[in-house]
């Protein structure tokens, strides 16, 4: 991940001394990493663990494209320091399907045409999976509110609501 963001590049002795050991589970597999404490979960997933399904949109906690689950809760990976994740369990979009069998929420996004360009979609799906588990969204309005942390610049919102409803039923 050090190569992704130029500001993270450092070959100095002191930077090497600051590395932190982290062991966490990613999509069911234990991963042990030595990380720069500046590394976000997002950059670590994409650039070190080659899990590029999680997308970098704003990188500022404002768009939701980087949504993943940590210990079963939906969070923003761009604002999560991977150094804080020792012993935690991370699930990304790559961890939802069972082999070739899609997760019901993935199936529903395809069936309901819940995306156009697709950039926000993995974040939308991770949010929707968590939303169904949380159990606070029964009306369309509640679904919209519960999905409000995921911005879709193509404006696929009506179909995203339909996809959540299909997955719920």
């Amino acid at each position: 991940m050090e190569h992704g963001d130029p500001s993270l590049r450092s070959s100095s002795e002191s930077a090497a001394n600051r590395l932190v050991e982290v062991t966490c589970t990613v999509n069911g597999t234990a991963r042990s990493l030595r990380v720069d404490p500046r590394a976000t979960l997002l950059d670590t997933l994409r650039e070190r663990l080659e899990l590029t399904g999680t997308k970098k949109g704003c990188d500022r906690g404002q768009c939701g494209a980087c949504t993943v689950h940590v210990d079963g809760r939906r969070v923003l990976s761009c604002l999560t320091m991977v150094a804080t994740l020792d012993g935690r369990e991370v699930t990304t979009i790559e961890g939802l399907a069972e082999g070739d069998r899609l997760h019901p929420v993935q199936r529903a996004f395809i069936d309901q045409d819940g995306f156009q360009c697709g950039f926000c979609t993995s974040g939308q799906i991770m949010s929707a999976v968590a939303l169904l588990r949380e159990g606070h969204a029964s009306t369309d309005g509640e679904i919209r509110e519960a999905m409000s942390g995921n911005i879709c610049r193509c404006g696929a919102y009506p179909n995203i609501v339909e996809a959540v409803k299909q997955a719920r039923s």
Binding site: A15, P37, G61, R73, L76, L79, A83, R144, S148, G149
Partner: protein, 321 residues
């Protein structure tokens, strides 16, 4: 982002012992990591406090106690919060997004920094970020800025919804530092900018918020948080009102009113509360909300908006009057 040392203490005393002047405590990270990326803040040491035993949401005889590391979403959904203090639950659920609420801690929420665009942009002057450099908001883009508690040095709003509800309920914060523990009302904790906008509160370097205490208020079950913003969700307030009323036969006997999105600190409105206690109409009481306001070129609309936010909360709680 600048390099920093990283520590993960498991004990509160260890965390306090590690803290230096240039340290930052990391809980949910939703403010800190964002501002570190922008290089608005660049601590030399980051102390991950997530392993500290600062949890629990417990109703006690002296009030509701909420551990500083409890997450916004969990607090909002807790029966000891949502039942007796709906204004707290509503303020929390009107904040940020579910993902951010799953991350952000209660202590961190109270310490979040302003959303002023000049504060967040290191290419511009800002007295809060770099004392003495000036305040471009005074004559620049100030539509989102404060109208109450401002100074020539700073007009940045305090962004927390939760803090507005807690100030209305006369909540306190428990603080712990290497020198010991102290408790103070949240209303006294925050400092208006004056000539030193970089000093935002009474927290000392190396001191932690450990707990929030909300005193019992039997009629707080009738309370409401109204938040007006540029979009329906996932946005900071332009104006907000935290209101609780003690209602008898349709008459307001007592009230608590605080407002957000308009003040440099969470803003309690004793004049509005007095007017309601004295039996004045809701409109007359709400009209007192912006007394002493000093709007800037772009935010005079907030004078009316904050009055209407209060009026709406009163109407929803007590019916039109």
């Amino acid at each position: 982002m600048r390099a920093f040392d990283f520590a993960v203490p498991h004990d509160i005393d260890d965390a306090l012992g590690l803290a230096r002047d240039e340290s930052a405590f990391l809980a949910g990270g939703t403010t800190l990591v964002d501002l570190m990326k922008l290089e608005v803040v660049s601590p030399e040491q980051v102390i991950d406090i997530n392993r500290l035993p600062l949890h629990g949401i417990r109703p006690e005889p002296d009030g509701l106690r909420v551990g500083a590391l409890e997450r916004m979403e969990d607090v909002a959904r807790h029966p000891a919060v949502a039942g007796p203090y709906p204004v707290i639950a509503q303020a929390l659920l009107a904040s940020a997004s579910p993902q951010l609420r799953n991350m952000a801690s209660i202590g961190g929420n109270l310490l979040q920094r302003t959303r002023c665009g000049y504060f967040r942009d290191v290419a511009t002057p800002c007295n809060k970020r770099s004392p003495g450099t000036g305040c471009p908001a005074q004559h620049g883009d100030n539509r989102g800025h404060a109208i109450l508690g401002t100074s020539a040095s700073c007009a940045a709003t305090h962004p927390s919804d939760l803090a507005v509800a807690l100030v209305a309920l006369e909540a306190s914060v428990r603080l712990r530092g290497a020198d010991g523990e102290r408790t103070m009302p949240l209303a006294d904790f925050y400092l208006p900018p004056g000539d030193t906008p970089h000093v935002e509160n009474r927290l000392r370097p190396g001191e932690l918020i450990t707990e929030v205490i909300v005193p019992p208020l039997p009629w707080a079950g009738r309370s409401r948080y109204v938040k007006v913003r540029d979009r329906q969700s996932y946005e900071f307030a332009l104006a907000s009102a935290a209101v609780a009323v003690d209602l008898h036969d349709g008459e307001v006997r007592d009230a608590r009113v605080a407002v957000g999105g308009v003040g440099t600190v969470p803003w309690r409105l004793p004049a509005v509360e007095d007017a309601l206690r004295a039996g004045r109409s809701h409109e007359e009481a709400a009209a007192l909300a912006a007394a002493g306001a000093r709007p800037l070129a772009g935010n005079a609309f907030k004078v009316t908006l904050v009055q209407r936010a209060i009026l709406r909360a009163l109407t929803e709680l007590a019916g039109p009057r």
